[in-house]
Amino acid sequence: MTDATSSNVPGERSGKTSLYAQDARTKRRNAAEARFRAYGIAAIVVAILALIGLVSSILYNGSSAFRQTFITMDIYLDPAKLDKDGSGDIEKIAKVSTFGYAPLIAKAFEAEFEKPGIGVEGLTAKKAAKMISKEGPADLRRFVLANPDKIGETVTFKFLASGRIDGYYKGRVTAETAKLDKNVSPEQLLLADQLKEAGVLKTTFNFGFLTNADASENRPEAAGLGVAILGSFYMMLVVLCLTLPIGVAASIYLEEFAPKNWITDIVEVNISNLAAVPSIVFGILGLAIFINFMGLPQSAPIVGGLVLTLMTLPTIIIATRASLKAVPPSIRDAALGVGASKMQAVFHHVLPLAAPGILTGTIIGLAQALGETAPLLLIGMVAFVREYPAGPPEGFFDPAAALPVQVYNWTQRADPAFVERASGAIIVLLVFLLAMNAIAIILRRRFERRW
């Protein structure tokens, strides 16, 4: 201020100045601009570092969930144990519980011990059989019940290794920790190395992680996301089928047809408010209305879908209205000018132009719903579900899990193997979210490229 008006007449420059020399005011202004740019770059760097930190920690913890140690052995399905009277009657075979299968697995280990270079002192076949997951006998039983004609034959079967053995190859378990662990012994680890050498024990890609149902506390190696992915898929189906028509219809009415009066003002304000309501509130609402009042089943994707629909609708309405507003009014004038009715103008001209924005908004809304956990906890989606929901439409009413809830669920468990599973589930969730965002971008590009 002062230097600009050093002559006594306000508003008049004093003396002749050179363009080559920056005056104090310009210097200050340039410094402020440089500072602002530095702040901006710093903010972006912080954001990128945070993102890298987040993603790399998840990948570091979770990528091992996609690899799984398996022990492949020839196993003799002894008819004397599985089908005592030789009738082949499936109901009688089904009476043999998983305990009946454990000796067969021990026998298979005995056969392995006869091979050269395999066998650890003090480790019996029975103890060695503990290296197989507790899920192993159950898997074998399921296989036998599905193929009863295989009884009496020797089949090659791929068993899940137990969580500790699996952890040994992922760096979670060492000989020292095994000494203190009642679930695994150092001898078993030695044998595992020998089996690996012999090609019996292998670490391969873990398809089961994507297809299996959840498993109980002491068999993390068998836990998978199958039910959760299916449950999330069903919920997204419900959300999409409800939000898109309702949201778009509501937005078109509010934006193009509704008179501007105090009622529509209230509606508008409340839509914006609903978008800001904490999602858990929608969970309470869903519990009270859909489950307690309407009597829909707990843990069901239909209820989850309805709750997420309520949560997503405001987002989609706001996005749709924004993209309708972005269509230039001259297009509406043009359509009305040639004698189109209001509805023809909207559906023939405005809506197609707004479609990319509407689609993007919808997919972003769906992605938000896909990652939502809190409301689902309240409507019972947090339950332990082993059964896959049936195909649609009955499946919408069957109990199911959801991806984010499965993550929450697994982080609550004690076995460190579940940390890996939870991180793996987060990776799956992120892949789905990225895929949805990619679809949104592709759709937008494709529609906009037309003209």
Binding site: P259, K260, P328, S330, I331, R332, D333, A334, A335, L336, G337, V338, G339, A340, S341, Q344, H348, H349, L353, R450, W451
Partner: protein, 265 residues
């Protein structure tokens, strides 16, 4: 007051196409148009001139009820099209707008192909029974819009890809495709360069053979060039209406004189 100049302009006697009686337009509390009485003749180009905000565009938009889309806008008085009150309760504005076509200030082709731009009106009004008829209507309209030769080889190209002048002529072709009886033009040349303007003006002169054309313009030269009748609006009043030649050479009202000589507006 305009009988004399009929002779020198060599124009046939016309029917009254649109008659406005005591038209008042309000935007909320603003009285935008005051007591406008005007008779617009068939097969004539009528120019509305006046300074910005004088209500000429507002009045133009009343003639095909485009003001209906503005919530706060109210129209009083009678506007008769061929003796029928267009603000009658029985009148559907959609039917009215098919009869009274409109061309806007900014060229606003639909972001569709040139063909679809022109074919849209006939399609929604069911003017063509089949594709061949529609093709015929599109060609006829594009010819009337004096753009056929430029676009006949690329009817599938987007209308938005044309130059400004071509777009405006496309919009005129689109407007005439529904076979209107009156064509309203709201400053159709304000976004165009002089060459495109000349083309559009030439076109307007041709359109006079079939339609009653009403053009709002800021350019007094343009009004003088294209119109037979001129209406001068000032502050919501219709100050003077008469033969174009007379308005520009011998205006009756001092405000008209001030405007055309450049003292106001």
């Amino acid at each position: 007051m305009n009988d004399m100049s009929f002779v020198e302009r060599n124009v046939d006697t016309k029917n009254i196409k649109i008659a406005a009686k005591d038209v008042q337009v309000y935007y909320g509390d603003t009285h935008a148009i005051k007591d406008v009485n005007v008779n617009i003749e068939d097969k004539t180009v009528t120019a509305f001139i006046g300074p910005s905000g004088c209500g000429k565009s507002t009045f133009l938009r009343c003639l095909n009820r485009m003001n209906d889309t503005i919530d706060v806008c109210r129209v009083k008085g009678d506007i008769l099209l061929d003796g029928e009150d267009i603000y009658d309760k029985k009148v559907d504005p959609v039917q009215l707008r098919a009869k009274v076509g409109m061309v806007f200030q900014k060229p606003n082709p639909f972001p569709k192909s040139i063909y679809d731009n022109v074919a849209y009106g006939p399609r929604i009004h069911g003017l063509a029974k089949n594709k061949a008829e529609l093709d015929e209507i599109v060609e006829k309209s594009l010819r009337r819009g004096a753009i056929w030769d430029e676009v006949k080889d690329r009817l599938d190209a987007p209308g938005t890809g044309l130059s400004g002048g071509q777009q405006q002529r496309l919009c005129i072709a689109r407007a005439v495709a529904t076979e209107p009886e009156v064509l309203l033009m709201d400053e159709p040349c304000s976004a165009l360069d002089p060459i495109a303007t000349a083309q559009v003006e030439e076109l307007i002169d041709e359109l006079r053979e079939r339609y009653s054309v009403i053009i709002v313009t800021h350019s007094m030269q343009q009004a003088a060039r294209v119109s037979q009748k001129t209406a001068f609006f000032h502050l919501g009043n219709l100050v003077e209406f008469g033969e174009t030649g007379q308005i520009f050479t011998n205006p009756e009202d001092p405000r008209t004189e001030s405007y055309i000589t450049g003292r106001i507006g």
